[in-house]
């Protein structure tokens, strides 16, 4: 329908219409270019920043993972020194465990004593 109308030379095109139409198309094209180019630059910048941030997080994370799961270096090179350190640690452990056990025994004795007192009353 529109094609027929366009082909029909009898229909007169208003004066200056072609020029206006052409200018309008050009301006729309230019506007589209501005909008598209601005958007892609912002997106490129955002993508770049996000990529760098993700890379940094990955790098730090990998470093932390390696650090957390690594096998540490021996503190001592002399077995006798190492043995002395182990003995010292065991003395400390023994002291704390014995202290805890003594407290438990004391508590048990106190409970037993009180239980005996209650029993003697009834």
């Amino acid at each position: 329908m529109m094609e027929k109308a366009a082909a029909d030379r009898r229909i007169e095109v208003p004066h200056g219409f072609r020029k206006e139409l052409s200018e309008m198309i050009d301006s729309m094209d230019a506007a589209e270019k501005i909008v598209t180019s601005g958007k892609s630059r912002a997106m490129r910048t955002a993508t770049w920043i996000m990529s760098v941030a993700a890379g940094l997080v990955l790098l730090i994370g990998t470093g932390l993972t390696i650090h957390t799961f690594r096998t540490p270096k021996d503190t001592f090179t002399d077995p006798e020194e190492a043995y002395a350190a182990v003995e010292k640690a065991l003395t400390e452990i023994s002291g704390k465990m014995s202290g805890g056990a003594a407290s438990a025994r004391q508590a048990e004795e106190t409970v037993s004593r009180h239980t005996e007192v209650i029993r003697s009353l009834y």
Partner: protein, 150 residues
């Protein structure tokens, strides 16, 4: 990314992780004794296996590794306490003993397979300081009981 996130957020799973997280920081003294060093202790005849009246030789022979962390920095000590608590709540460790005196709290955790203790961890906390002694071993319960009797 998952590994990174896990490493940053997850609680430590054993003494080695705790050691690696805290050793080298300000106010922290640390000692690590490797399985190789424990083997060397066993194989060297000139190394005395007795110290005065206390004999730890039989129990030391069952050890594979030892990590000691001693923290004198209040903020780090608090962080260590939280980390040990989280580790214990994760379910691998079993609370064997808890004792509290005036200024000190002590908790002892173990991991065992049948009658063998494979991991031992003692956490002691005082005001502004905390320490962890972690031992990986193949230690029978009977050897562990000797520590109380010493």
């Amino acid at each position: 990314m998952f590994l990174a996130a896990a490493a940053m957020s997850a609680a430590a799973q054993d003494g080695k992780e705790i050691y690696n997280r805290y050793s080298g920081k300000k106010g922290v003294s640390s000692v690590y004794i490797s399985p190789t060093m424990f083997k060397m202790m066993k194989s060297l005849p000139e190394v005395s296996m007795e110290s005065g009246e206390v004999d730890f030789s039989s129990i030391i022979k069952t050890f594979n590794g030892m990590y000691i962390i001693d923290i004198e920095e209040p903020e780090l000590a608090k962080s260590l306490s939280e980390e040990v608590t989280a580790m214990a709540e994760s379910g691998r460790y079993e609370l064997m003993m808890e004792a509290a005196e005036e200024s000190e709290k002590v908790r002892i955790y173990i991991v065992s397979k049948g009658d063998i203790v494979t991991d031992f961890l003692m956490f002691a906390q005082e005001k502004g300081s905390a320490s962890v002694i972690s031992i990986s071993a193949e230690m029978p319960f009977s050897e562990l009981q000797k520590l109380i009797a010493q």
